[in-house]
């Protein structure tokens, strides 16, 4: 699924907002095609500014961004949005059409498709997102979770190569998160590059292979999620907490369970506990 060729390359990116706030400082980053990457950090760390540079919503004050080896500095937002689809936090910032169907069609109208193809793709995406039953309903009458689904659908239908999610699990119930997890699995099978901004440490620990940690407009760590999120020093600098499994590991260690191994996955921890219980009950 992942190829070694970087689809996104950022070189010495700086961004200063008009009010003088330095949002990004010397960002250097490579993301390969088909990768699934998480971006974490406390509020104001520069996560959203970073993703906004990807489709030209903000132009770096300094440095260059390359998408598929092409410098994007002279490209328009409309042009870039065909390659990079960003799904923002608040779905109500983009829903306006008379019906759910029209909302999807609005997104498709800006790419060169004829009427018939627009209809086919709309039908397909409504089915994929289980929104068929709301086809004629106003998007403003959907629940929070459904409207988020619709916002995601209205970007995915454009079939961008890079999909960026800003806090996708925020305010979502367990079933909706499960739907989202299946969605990213499917999109990765289609070699899509996925970037997720999240504060949900458990979600990141479980599903994201690579995590970029940001603080004060800089990347302070970039590597395998289990390495990054189990690093107490980094975590304390970014207003995050250790994943529950790592906290549990420390608790077990404190109670004298010496054989417990650092940075266990959920399955490894379950197996470890199962073995301990087996030993204990066999003694009784």
């Amino acid at each position: 699924m992942t190829s070694e060729i970087p689809i996104i390359m950022m070189r010495d990116i700086d961004y200063i907002y008009p009010n003088g706030t330095e949002a990004l400082k010397k960002i250097n980053l490579n993301i390969s095609k088909g990768e699934l990457v998480g971006i974490m950090g406390k509020n104001g760390a520069g996560k959203t500014s970073l993703i906004r540079t990807l489709n030209g919503l903000i132009k770096p004050t300094q440095g260059n961004i390359y998408i598929e080896n092409e410098n994007i500095s002279s490209k328009s937002i409309a042009n870039l949005s065909e390659k990079v689809g960003i799904i923002f936090q608040n779905p109500f910032h983009q829903l306006f059409a008379n019906s759910v169907e029209d909302e999807i069609k609005f997104s498709l109208k800006s790419i060169s498709l004829d009427k018939e193809k627009i209809q086919i793709r709309t039908d397909h995406i409504l089915n994929q997102f289980d929104l068929e039953k709301y086809r004629t309903r106003s998007p403003l009458n959907l629940s929070g979770g459904e409207s988020k689904k619709l916002a995601i659908a209205s970007i995915i239908c454009r079939d961008p190569d890079i999909i960026v999610f800003d806090e996708p699990t925020l305010g979502q119930d367990a079933k909706e998160i499960e739907f989202f997890i299946n969605l990213i699995k499917n999109e990765r099978k289609r070699s899509k590059t996925i970037i997720i901004i999240t504060h949900n440490i458990e979600f990141a620990y479980e599903y994201l292979p690579r995590t970029i940690l940001m603080a004060d407009g800089q990347i302070i760590a970039d590597g395998p999620t289990k390495e990054v999120l189990n690093n107490e020093f980094l975590i304390s600098n970014t207003s995050l907490v250790l994943p529950q499994i790592q906290q549990f590991y420390f608790a077990l260690l404190e109670q004298g369970f010496q054989e417990v191994v650092d940075k266990m996955s959920k399955t490894e921890m379950i197996n470890y506990l199962r073995n301990i219980l087996k030993k204990r009950y066999s003694k009784i």
Partner: protein, 255 residues
């Protein structure tokens, strides 16, 4: 496209003479300049009134933000030039542009230099019921929030291929719906949330209330008020005696 110009109406704390004036004086200032602008349809008097605003802008260290508000009007200005030149005259179009610039600048100075909390206090001291004063200051406080939200909506729509600038007037008007509808919906939702939050904190349960601090009219406020009334009197005098004043005041572009 950026909606950055809406920040030209966002309060910024600074220590200048203009910032330190009483909010009531600044409200009076905006009203008097608006009245003055309404009294003329000739270019020169309007230009002079407009120029008289510049020292205040410079003295309040507001130049950058003020330029943003002036630049933000460019589309409206284009419409005014087009319609007035077509149906009346170019001189009238320029006069109307100056009139709008005066009004926007006066209120931009007001919004940039008045703390929303002080505004509520000053309105209450002008015997306005607390609920109205609070609503007014709340509306005022939400200007930058709405500006921010408008920018987020624009970003979200652009991320799915929406282009604001399209050819043709009808297309441009139609094109505003993807921005305006989410903005209105979000504003209504926020209004309900704020109302609930206020009620849950017992807003309005007593008719009178106390304040953490009070505002007072100082000598510099009185001096500035005097200047404003003299300015208004002078403007009215010119308006009434317009025919006996030098001809250059009535100058207009040759038709």
């Amino acid at each position: 496209m950026s909606l950055e110009f809406l920040n030209a109406f966002k309060f910024m704390k600074k220590k200048t003479f203009v910032h330190n004036l009483d909010p009531r004086v600044k409200l009076l200032f905006s009203i008097i300049y608006t009245i003055s602008a309404m009294l003329f349809v000739e270019i020169i008097p309007l230009l002079l009134i407009f120029l008289s605003l510049i020292p205040i802008v410079l003295y309040g260290k507001l130049f950058k933000q003020w330029i943003k508000s002036v630049r933000g009007l460019s589309i409206l200005i284009l419409f005014i030039i087009l319609l007035n030149t077509l149906f009346i005259s170019l001189s009238f179009a320029i006069a109307m542009i100056l009139r709008i610039y005066i009004m926007v600048s006066a209120f931009s100075i007001f919004f940039l230099t008045v703390d929303p909390n002080d505004l509520a206090l000053s309105l209450i001291s002008m015997k306005l019921p607390y609920e109205f004063a609070f609503s007014f200051s709340l509306a005022f406080r939400f200007v930058p929030t709405i500006a921010n939200e408008a920018q987020n909506i624009l970003d979200a729509q652009q991320s799915r291929g929406y282009e604001l600038q399209k050819k043709g007037l009808i297309n441009q008007i139609k094109n505003l719906f993807p921005l305006l509808i989410p903005l209105i919906i979000c504003s209504i939702k926020r209004a309900f949330n704020v109302a609930e939050a206020l009620e849950s904190r017992a807003f309005g349960c007593r008719k009178t209330r106390t304040f953490y601090y009070n505002i007072r009219y100082s000598i510099k406020d009185w001096i500035f008020t005097l200047y404003l009334f003299l300015f208004l009197a002078f403007i009215i005098f010119i308006r009434i005696q317009f025919n006996i004043l030098p001809n250059f005041l009535m100058w207009s572009l040759p038709v």
